[in-house]
């Protein structure tokens, strides 16, 4: 069941077997790839969850193009993308959901390289579903704080 709830400092977004209760300041946008981008009807409509501690713009690419450009040094962005279920458990997705650490982040891991930003991409399987998590930190200076926020919001994501 699709449900979006709001109330005070806590907000919950849930659909497509994903659910996240957001920490303060964080917002979320959840869509199915082809449904939004007008892909062919027979294409698998895998969900994409975008999370950010800043105002997420309406037009974004799956890996955050359009959002990372407006990020400030104290901002962080996370994209959680599901892949075909056939991929679950394959070597690329063999790992369990990772806990991201500072050493995971590098400028050359960014999908779109922007000054000061650091990126990280990991693949994993959870509940028989294959995912990629892609995170962007706004600056090296605030990386420790931002990584804490990213870790917090990712622990709030439930996969059913």
């Amino acid at each position: 069941m699709n449900r979006t709830a709001v109330g005070g400092p806590r907000a919950t977004v849930a659909a497509h077997g994903l659910r996240v209760t957001l920490p303060e300041r964080w917002e979320a946008r959840l869509y199915r790839r082809a449904a939004v981008h007008g892909g062919p009807a027979d294409e698998s409509h895998q969900p994409v969850l975008h999370l950010g501690n800043f105002a997420l713009p309406p037009a974004r690419g799956d890996f955050g193009t359009g959002a990372v450009e407006v990020m400030g040094p104290r901002h962080a962005f996370v994209a959680l993308l599901e892949y075909d279920r056939d991929e679950a458990g394959t070597p690329l997705f063999a790992a369990a959901r990772p806990t991201l650490i500072p050493a995971d982040f590098a400028a050359n891991a960014l999908q779109r390289r922007l000054p000061g930003q650091l990126g990280c991409q990991r693949f994993f399987t959870e509940n028989g579903r294959a995912f990629c998590v892609y995170a962007v930190l706004g600056s090296r200076e605030h990386a420790a704080t931002l990584l804490g926020e990213v870790g917090d919001v990712l622990t709030r994501v439930e996969v059913s």
Binding site: V6, E24, A35, V36, A55, R74
Partner: protein, 257 residues
């Protein structure tokens, strides 16, 4: 005989006039009721009201909500608490957008697909260069949820690139009396600082500019400049706006108003 004929014709004409007037009145009543059903009722519409507010922007604490600036009044005048906006976009994307406790201010436009008064707002939203907001201010267009709206019509009206979130919950939270309705929220305090209706987005923007002293509502966000230049310009803008002089005013160019 002629006099009698004239009298009869006059009476018939008078009766016809009464009938036509009655029909026009009934037609007007039907149109008004239809307009109210479309969410554009005037019954609860409020003129736009903006409370004075400080113009200095807050700094952000790392990892926490935005901090209040030093010159922010201890108890600023407030209309009421704001609420975050949750709903879905016209593409079916679920959204939870933060309005409360964030760095940016938010201008919420509560519009409908069927309200005649909203057409000007939709048209302005789609006109290149027509929308100006101070730097860091976010614009959200909020029609009611899909169950209460004509979504195909909204897709026709909504210009590309405008953030449209369908949310009946937001209409309830903000007690929207009808459309168009505009709410301006101060992000750091999470309070409503201005709300009401207007004839156009341009008119509302001018009211906001006058009240806040921020010409960005009329000219758009300022370009990056040295702090001293920015502060000086902001002070001049405040003085001009306080005297009802908006960008483009002939008096700025030595002409009579």
């Amino acid at each position: 005989m002629t006099t009698t004929l004239l009298l009869v014709e006059t009476v018939v004409l008078a009766v016809l006039c009464v009938l036509v007037a009655g029909l026009l009145r009934a037609y007007g009543t039907v149109l008004r009721r239809l307009h109210e059903l479309d969410g554009g009722g005037d019954g609860g519409a409020r003129d736009f009201t903006v409370l004075p507010m400080p113009t200095a922007r807050p700094t952000t604490r790392p990892g926490g909500p935005a901090a209040e600036p030093a010159n922010r009044p201890a108890t600023p005048p407030q209309l009421g608490p704001a609420a975050d906006v949750a709903g879905e976009t016209l593409a079916g994307e679920l959204v939870s957008a933060r309005v409360v406790g964030v760095e940016q201010d938010t201008l919420l436009l509560f519009l409908s697909s069927g309200c005649a008064s909203c057409e000007t707002f939709w048209e302005e939203l789609g006109r290149p260069g027509a929308i100006h907001l101070p730097a860091g201010t976010r614009l959200l267009v909020v029609p009611q949820g899909p169950a209460d709206e004509d979504v195909p019509r909204l897709r026709e009206l909504a210009p590309a690139g405008v953030d449209v979130i369908l949310s009946s919950a937001a209409w309830r939270e903000y007690e929207v009396p009808g459309s168009p309705h505009v709410v301006y929220v101060d992000g750091p305090s999470g309070r409503v600082r201005g709300e009401g209706t207007g004839q156009s987005l341009r008119q509302v923007a001018e009211l906001l500019a006058r009240s806040t002293g921020d010409a960005g509502f009329v000219t758009g966000g300022p370009a990056r400049k040295p702090d001293r230049d920015r502060q000086q310009e902001a002070a001049v803008d405040r003085e001009l706006l306080a005297n009802g002089i908006l960008p483009g005013d002939p008096r700025l160019y030595g002409e009579d108003a």
